[in-house]
Amino acid sequence: MNFDDTPQEAEFRSIARKWIAANAPKEFEEELSKSSLGRIRLARHDMVEVGKAWQKKKAEGGWACLHWPKEYGGRGATPIERVIWQQEEGVYGKLTQPFQIGEGMCGPTVMAWGSEDAKRRFLPKLASGEEIWCQLFSEPSAGSDVAGLRTRAEKKGDNWVVNGQKIWTSGAHYSDYGLLIARTDPNVPKHKGLTMFFLDMKSPGVEVRPIKQANGMQEFNEVYFTDVVIPDSQRLGAVGEGWSVSLTTLMNERMSIGARLATGVPEMFEFCSGLMLEDGLAIDDPAVRSKLASWAVKASGLKYTSYRAISALSKGERPGPENSIGKLVSGLMLQDIATYAMDLEGTAGSLTGTDEEQANGQFQQMLLSSPSMRIAGGTDEILRNIIAERVLGLPGDIRVDKDVSYNKIPTKGR
């Protein structure tokens, strides 16, 4: 493994750096660098609009979705070049948040399963940020057990008619298209009766309702479908093949979430370097140092693990289940770091102001937001199952719903 740029990589880096210096929206640099952990605060501007403008500029310059083929709006860049770009994009990368689900999950699924017409029509606009995509998988009764979903799609002539409800849909309120998995046959075992579609989020019968989250914000939504019509040409994969198609999405989800994962470690290091305790700086306290060091080696371990994955990717290997560790490690770490940072602030740690002493309120925000990191995109428990079963080869749990037709599976607890 080599951690230095090759001459070609160094040249690519220098071209990227020059382009960013000439084109990035510098007026937002300071606000972006103060926004942490996926939480972007722009005082006087709409983050989605600013993000779209940057994404469009990048697309025009050939820097959007740069690992995608050119004909679909990418640059045909190597995985390593993509990483170099992300390093150079730096704080401006935070503006890509509204596009990450599209770029990381929906796009790759359309690329793998869509018709040539669909790819040419939808992927370039997804890449340029002109059209935003969301992912419609989870339901109120189907979270970790997503294959137990209830939303129905019924064939009527050349169309499908969809009824049901999705939930936890990030960005549904500003999305143009959605990737939807629905049940097309309730009479077969649950994994076999699913089909994947994509749809226009402006279709009649689609209703998006924001969810007020535990942290007080509204990023997720409920999405209701009432007699929504989807043309059969917007089906991805065969009827009944939806589960296989969804695995493409979920595998890419893990890779995508892993790629720009916040760990909280740089923020915590900076905070401890500046925080004055009774006996001196926090960073000089042995207990603080010990915790910081343990977190720092987890963060560096994750970083070099992702380098290893990239190096495997660049040799043509597909992202494997071992990439599940990124979110598993960083989710809990964010929560622990937030708790400890507030502990160091003493009683005042409970305050949510944004004055200087409170480190911009970022750890209070982190505390309240971090529970979702351990749930969204596969709970900690599901990720551990994936590692245990698919990496270590341990047997699956005994399943009572395996060979039972979907409509015979119990739906009530007590």
Binding site: M1, A293, S294, V297, S300, G301, I325, V329, N385, A388
Partner: protein
């Protein structure tokens, strides 16, 4: 052997217990030699030992510690005066089977690092008394070495001992970290195999989430450690400026992973894991002994934070 290949060899042999036993002083010897051989001008005091090291006729060790505590110039009390050493070193890894030792001794009293110099002592010569010490790791010996006017030849320039020791410890940390990752992997593998074979409640215990999740967590810590180690190996093999930070990160990560995996491997095995016959305790012992061999976890945590601060300030 190149340093990268040596990292791989250390990692690989630790995964096999038999090799692990046979090769028990390999890592330690490897790093002392690595550092000594790396010196630009080989001191005359070392010249007679080098061919013997290469042929396997002589075993060397590093005599640094003097009782409780972590590596520190202040803790060095053994004195060097007029070509002889006086004082006691303990514990010294492989001290009872070693033929010579590199000894850190005090040559000044200014209270600075420059008070420490290095010497080579023939352990079979007069004025040296070696006593074996018992320790938790039954497969890697520790000893006490007492010097009473023992003849010593200087190694390197006077007053530069501590800066050499610091570099030796960093290099050793990377090499030992590979041994630790190998041990962690093997403990994980043992736990996984047992979870597949052992039936309870009518099914393999590996199908229970409580067991499965414990093994998944072991995999996570072993993976993080391995990735940190690769970075450490890169820094070591290229003599990169990042070596001090990378070595500390590899050391901490690998120490934690090996301890975690060895501990949980016993838990997965249940009562069988606590028997003398099963190998689980050997890994548990090694994990906890090697965690202290180059200074404890807290010593390396301290070092990592200092080094990160230095980098951030630069």
């Amino acid at each position: 052997m190149g340093r990268l290949r040596r990292c791989g060899a250390l990692c690989g042999s630790a995964t096999k217990l038999r090799h692990c036993l046979r090769w028990n002083f390999g890592a330690f010897r490897s790093f002392t030699e690595d550092s000594l051989v790396g010196m630009r001008d080989v001191p005359t005091s070392l010249q007679k030992w080098l061919p013997k090291i290469a042929s396997g006729d002589a075993i060397g060790t590093l005599a640094l510690f003097e009782g409780k505590g972590n590596p520190s110039p202040k803790a060095v009390k053994v004195t060097a005066n007029g070509g002889v050493l006086n004082g006691v070193k303990r514990p010294v890894a492989d001290g009872a089977i070693a033929d010579f030792a590199v000894v850190a001794a005090r040559t000044g009293s200014s209270g600075r690092e420059s008070d420490i110099s290095l010497f080579i002592v023939d352990l079979k010569a007069g004025g040296v008394e070696v006593k074996s010490l018992t320790n938790i790791d039954l497969t890697r010996g520790q000893a006490e070495i007492a010097f009473k006017d023992a003849k010593a030849e200087p190694l390197g320039a006077p007053g530069e001992g501590w800066s050499v020791i610091t570099q030796v410890l960093d290099r050793a940390a990377v090499l030992m970290a590979f041994e630790q990752v190998g041990g962690a992997d093997r403990a994980l593998e043992m736990g996984r195999d047992y979870a597949l074979d052992r039936i309870a409640f009518g099914r393999p215990i590996g199908s229970f989430q409580a067991v499965k999740h414990m093994l998944a967590d072991m995999y996570v810590s072993a993976t993080l450690a391995r990735s940190n180690c690769y970075y450490g190996a890169w820094a070591l093999s290229t003599n990169a400026g990042e070596l001090p930070e990378a070595a500390a990160a590899a050391r901490i990560s690998a120490t934690q992973a090996f301890q975690h995996c060895a501990k949980n491997n016993i838990q997965v095995h249940g009562g069988m894991g606590f028997t003398w016959e099963f190998d689980c305790h050997m890994y548990y012992r090694r994990a906890n002994a090697v965690a202290l061999g180059l200074g404890s976890l807290s010593y390396w945590e301290d070092a990592l934070i200092d080094r990160m601060r230095k980098k951030n300030a630069a």
